[in-house]
């Protein structure tokens, strides 16, 4: 075939596709070319470290192998067959080590350090340098999460390339020249960005290390557990490093179709919440003086009593962060055992999306991406933001339609925007229809999200084109799986009981949700399943301790519709949900296994067509597209956002709440992450700010219905008129319409 090239490496003939890098070509032939700076995910090779020197016949000097691509007829000798290349690599390592401190015993990278390994295999056995090494101040906190040791840095520029070419936050830079070059943040500000943690994993030496993992464990003392991140619906593949029964760090497990080997800082750094002080470690029952700890037997007795007492009047508030098995278990107990079919899950995903599903990596290859919705993609599913950036770098056009979009749309106007796109006369819609590589993303709440998106994709003819896909970004990690498992647990239809006899609150997200709290006011009793005391006090009659996703066995479905397996990284301090659910189920005469694998088998037969756990493997695949079935129409007026006030007079703005990436019960409990929390500020459009004489940085007061909040203002040129945008956690009890005045 013409697009294959044939070349010889170390006397071995290799045939690879044209354009393959020499490092990969050699790897395909089973030959190693050692590298430090080369990392294809960071863009084109820079040839900074010279570790990859090889001899190429016909070229007078040694060549940096990482910068070459395989050419037909090339004859390459690596260090194993060429003395010159070996000498070159040895010299390179000697130069790298001139100023590298030999503090491997105290360095966190020691034992898993490419520089150690390659020096051992290719480098000189001893040093010839007799003068003192260059020293710098160390460690320098690049941010509360990352420590920088400039003495160890070998200037491979992986971190700065990540910062400027992948995450595009442009915060890490190389300062000065020559031997005094150093990595720094711009203006020595803390590296505050959603993906900063990836530079720790990229650094081939111990120059950038995690402060959380600092001196916690050495590579021979740890166990890595392959699991899946449970903090957003992207479901990045992670590896939890554990030592002595505690999670010490989280690293990427590189699923090329899902995360491409990157993680957001929320997924990487929030694990310390597992050992938070206010974790519920035993069941609690409301007694005369607040919540009192009781034995598990007593707790289950009480649960049975509450459930029996409220038979027929039970409502369940689901979080969407449960594993599919836990949701199914709850469904079996409550729906099959008690006939309680009513549940609230504040998500609007739809199974119809499966007709146009594709791996997230298709975004990277797209030519036109349209994102609708009022939420930033990075706040909902951060990894998707990296894919969008990748697409844009590759020349794709990204159109955002929403309150902060490149095409401004009124708050909550996503559904309408989609309808317009699908209409025959839409210019953008026409291009989506014509393109073979078009992507539609819905990043926002309400408005019938998933169903509307699936309809639009169907109307635009996405099903037949494998390069076209739609992605609905739910707010919670396993929204799809939970909804489907709950539905699969029984056949009866949902009916809302009134009054509510018992509200079962499953999980922390539900427990922290104001609308669930409002529901609880109407319920005579409440059972809360939660991890934290602060979420349990004041409203629950019975509190059952919950576990975190790092402590769970089971499966979860991510936003693509991919079923992925969660593994228990550490044993939770309490029995997991399935253990006591199965005990309770027994009391109501329904069968439920305490083992996630058995539950999966049962539910897989119902919703995944008999998929086996083993089939998920280490990197779960994405099932084929399913034929399109029109979703049930939800009337547009159903979503509260649709009632946008048409003409706002000066004084009243519509409050646009958003949930920032660094928020939630887990993030709140990690001290190192606090600097990433959103500023106390409200964003106003230029027009609205001018009208009120407000400039960025001014203190303003937001008032509605008797409550008021004081924050700094920020003028946001991208924001549509008539909107005040602020983080959920700062919005407190503000109502939908607020008055904004300079304080």
């Amino acid at each position: 075939m013409s697009d294959l090239v044939k070349l010889t490496i170390d006397d071995r003939e290799v045939e690879v596709a044209k354009g393959t890098g020499l490092v990969e070509t050699a790897a395909a032939a089973g030959i190693e070319i050692p590298v430090f700076c080369y990392e294809p995910r960071l863009g084109p090779a820079v040839g900074a470290c010279r570790m990859c020197l090889v001899e190429v016949e016909g070229m007078p000097k040694l060549q940096a192998g990482c910068t070459l691509t395989a050419q037909d007829g090339m004859v390459v000798h690596t260090a194993s067959t060429s003395a010159r290349a070996a000498e070159g690599q040895k010299g390179t390592l000697e130069f790298i080590l001139v100023n590298h401190p030999l503090d491997c015993p105290v360095c966190d990278k020691g034992g898993e350090c490419p520089l150690q390994d390659l020096t051992f295999r290719y480098g000189p056995g001893s040093t010839r340098m007799t003068f003192p090494k260059l020293t710098f101040d160390k460690p320098i906190p690049v941010s509360p999460l990352i420590a920088l040791d400039r003495e160890r840095c070998i200037l491979c520029y992986r971190c700065t390339r990540f910062s400027s070419d992948v995450a595009e936050d442009e915060q890490l830079i190389a300062r000065n020249r020559g031997a005094y070059s150093m990595i720094a943040t711009f203006g020595d500000e803390p590296y505050r960005a959603p993906f900063s943690g990836n530079v720790i994993e990229l650094c081939p030496v111990g120059a950038l290390t995690s402060t959380q993992y600092r001196f916690e464990a050495r590579p021979w003392e740890i166990q890595d557990v392959p699991t899946v991140c449970g903090l957003c619906p992207a479901g990045c593949n992670i590896r939890a490093t554990t030592r002595e029964g505690l999670v010490k760090r989280v690293q990427s497990r590189n699923h090329p179709e899902v995360d491409g080997g990157w993680l957001c800082d929320k997924g990487r750094f929030t694990f310390p919440h597992l050992r938070s002080d206010d974790r519920v470690r035993e069941p609690l029952v409301r007694g005369t003086v607040g919540l009192e700890p009781v034995s598990w037997d007593a707790a289950l007795d009480r649960a049975e009593e509450l459930l029996r007492g409220a038979q027929g009047k039970i409502v369940t508030a689901l979080s969407g962060s449960e594993t599919t098995e836990i949701a199914y278990g709850l469904g079996v107990l409550l729906r099959r055992g008690l006939g309680a079919h009513s549940a609230v899950l504040d998500e609007s995903t739809s199974a119809a999306l499966d007709a146009c599903r594709a791996p997230l990596s298709t975004i990277g290859a797209a030519e036109l991406v349209v994102v609708v919705g009022d939420d930033e993609v990075v706040d909902r599913a951060p990894i998707v933001d990296l894919w969008l950036r990748k697409a844009r770098r590759a020349g794709a056009e990204i159109v955002t339609i929403g309150a902060r979009g490149s095409v401004p749309a009124p708050v909550g106007g996503a559904a309408e925007a989609l309808r317009d796109l699908a209409a025959a006369d839409s210019e953008l819609g026409g291009r989506l229809r014509a393109s073979d590589r078009a992507i539609l993303v819905w990043s926002g709440s309400g408005g019938g999200g998933g169903a509307r998106l699936a309809e639009a994709a169907h109307a635009l003819g996405f099903e037949g084109k494998p390069g076209c896909a739609v992605f609905h970004l739910p707010a919670r990690a396993n929204a799809r799986g939970v909804a489907e498992a709950w539905a699969a647990a029984a056949d009866a239809d949902e009916a809302d009981p009134e009054p509510i006899g018992l509200l079962v609150v499953s999980g922390d997200e539900a427990a922290g949700d104001p609308s669930v709290r409002a529901l609880a006011e109407r319920a005579s009793t409440v059972i809360a399943i939660t991890m934290f005391h602060s979420l349990a006090v004041g409203w629950a009659d019975l509190v059952l301790p919950a576990t975190a996703s790092l402590e769970r066995e089971g499966t979860a479905m991510n936003l693509e519709g991919r079923v992925q397996r969660l593994r228990r990284a550490v044993t939770p301090p309490v029995p997991d949900e399935l253990a006591w659910l199965s005990k309770l189920a027994e009391r109501f005469g329904v069968a439920l296994s305490p083992h996630a694998a058995v539950v999966f088998e049962e539910l897989s037969g119902r919703i995944y067509g008999g998929l086996l756990l083993e089939q998920l493997g280490e990197h779960a695949g994405l099932p084929a597209r399913r034929p399109y079935e029109a979703p049930e129409p939800t009337p547009l007026a159903h979503s509260p956002e649709a009632n946008v006030p048409e003409d706002h007079f000066v004084g009243t703005l519509r409050l646009l709440r958003y949930t920032p990436l660094f928020s939630g019960h887990q993030v709140e409990r990690v001290p190192e992450l606090q600097f990433q929390r959103p500023e106390r500020e409200v964003a106003l459009s230029t027009v609205d700010a001018d009208r009120r004489g407000i400039a960025t940085g001014d203190l303003v007061s937001l008032r509605s219905n008797g409550t008021s909040v004081e924050l700094r203002a920020r003028v946001d040129a991208r924001l549509v008129e008539g909107v005040a945008r602020l983080a959920d956690e700062h919005a407190a009890h503000l109502h939908a319409d607020v008055e904004v005045v300079k304080a």
Binding site: D103, P105, V106, G110, G111, P139, R214, F215, E216, R218, W220, E221
Partner: protein, 162 residues
């Protein structure tokens, strides 16, 4: 036949007047060889700082997996060792130790060495877990050591006598 019996008594009689070779342990302690490997010690620099930096290399080298090191960071106010890192917890489970001395070989700072003490019995297994404080302290029971000059010769003492 009676002669045989008498011969046996004769041997016994002869030994009655000999010096006994039994040593009256524990009243008398036989000196051990200078390179005898007994209970570990953690060493300090002259300035009092601990030599151990908590690198866990000893734990990695240990074939019976009986060392546990948990490190922490030195601060200006609380400086324990010379580098950035020190061993917050250092434990050796001496009931599992096989006294191979690999930890001593692995240590890049000569922080751990095997001493001469072999009297390590306890009433409970738990007491055989030696903590950092115990290993840093001088051993309570002392064991006499042979004169090392005796062994530092072309024909060491154990080859010429014994």
């Amino acid at each position: 036949m009676p002669f045989g019996t008498l011969k046996g008594f004769g041997v016994t009689l002869k030994h009655i007047f000999r010096q006994p070779i039994t040593q009256q342990y524990p009243e008398y302690k036989r000196p051990v060889y200078p390179r005898f490997r007994g209970r570990h010690r953690l060493n300090r620099h002259e300035n009092g700082l601990e030599k151990c930096v908590g690198c866990s290399l000893c734990a990695a080298a240990c074939p019976s997996d009986c060392i546990r090191v948990v490190a922490a960071e030195n601060t200006a106010e609380h400086r324990v060792s010379a580098g950035e890192r020190y061993a917050r917890i250092y434990e050796i489970n001496l009931s599992r130790c096989i006294f191979c001395g690999y930890c001593e070989l692995a240590c890049p700072f000569d922080a751990i060495t095997l001493g001469n003490e072999f009297e390590l019995s306890e009433y409970s297994r738990d007491d055989l877990i030696y903590t950092k404080d115990m290993l840093l302290a001088e051993p309570i029971k002392r064991v006499p050591v042979q004169d090392s000059d005796l062994y530092d010769t072309p024909i060491p003492a154990y080859k010429s006598s014994s």
